[in-house]
Amino acid sequence: MKMKRTSIFIFSLLLSLSGFSQEVKDSIPVKTERYGLRVGADIYRLARSFYDDNYQGFELVGDYRLTRKFYLAAELGNEKKRSDEDQLDFTTKGSYFKVGFDYNGYENWLDMENVISIGLRYGVSSFRQTLHSYKIFNPNPYFGEIPPIQSGEEFDGLTATWIEVVAGVKVEIFNNLYVGFSARINRILSNKEPRNFANLYIPGFNRTYEGDFGVGFNYTVSYFIPIYKSAVKKKK
């Protein structure tokens, strides 16, 4: 394997900065692991944009290996979703960003580099909603049921923040190419609601439930860009 001079430089710089520098004293080959940046996209959101007329969206994913076990992780996305429900018909449109970390709990064999992780994210979304039509709920429809009321009202400048617990797996299927799946449970931290309507869908968070609870997942393909190698410390 090639190791570029620049990589060595970054490697030694990072090591000296982080104070992890260690000296290799014996002549036994030291096990090394690769550190770098992994970037990719969610293919579920991409595919759904083709088969679901009520959905358009994409999500870019990335992580950076900080230590042997910890990865800095982030997702960036945009969604447009029409929710045509029993009482309400509305479209939500906006962007989101999530940042946090993954902890790899999987002990790889030999030089495998798979990841089974649990992590946390802080998510933030900026979006707007259009209410197409709504129904009046009347438990005593003595004068007859009335048809849905056409609205077209726009609700701009909405924001929400939330926290996610993420469980994920990433498997290297070819050299440096990974497929991954993650499942998430979310909880709202802050939510700027519109007047006389509610944030029933938040880009990145998905459908909201009463009690500020949500779930999500993604199915990713990503590519690993190696930056440097680091020796694995032997257990004493």
């Binding site: 009482q87 004068f143 509610a198």
Partner: protein, 168 residues
Amino acid sequence: MKRFLTALGLLALFFIPGCEKDDLCDEAARTTPRLIVNFFDFANPTTPKNVNSLEIIGDGASDPLGTFNGVSQVELPLRTTDDFTRYSLRINSNNEAFDNTDYLQFNYTRDNIYVSRACGYKTVFDLDGTSAYMLTDAEPADGLWISHVFVNTLEIDNENETHVNIYF
């Protein structure tokens, strides 16, 4: 490592109580209210008075709302597509010799208020401050059986209070 997983586990607990069912509209009290009318004795205005065989029909409805007997309170649905609702109130409807019909029309403005995902919106009503109601006699005239109408509140946004008193 173990401490870390314990911390994550505890954090996960934080999410669990948030899961609630929200796809059924619990219609009680939270949605479009009816007009609550109480009947009182005109001669003794603090005493509730029960109606005898009061047949109530709304203008534009296909069926009578019902015939009420031995009660001092009725709930009248208001129309959510117009700014007025007129009811025909026929007392003693079980006795052709003594029956008497009055018309009572309520005038209001409407607001549609968001309730929830499962319920959608509700309509609330604001009775007209200058002419909340119009009391008229039947054609041909048979005299008014209702002596006096009193509006307790102009805001009709729940069913927990009496909106209108009728004295007879």
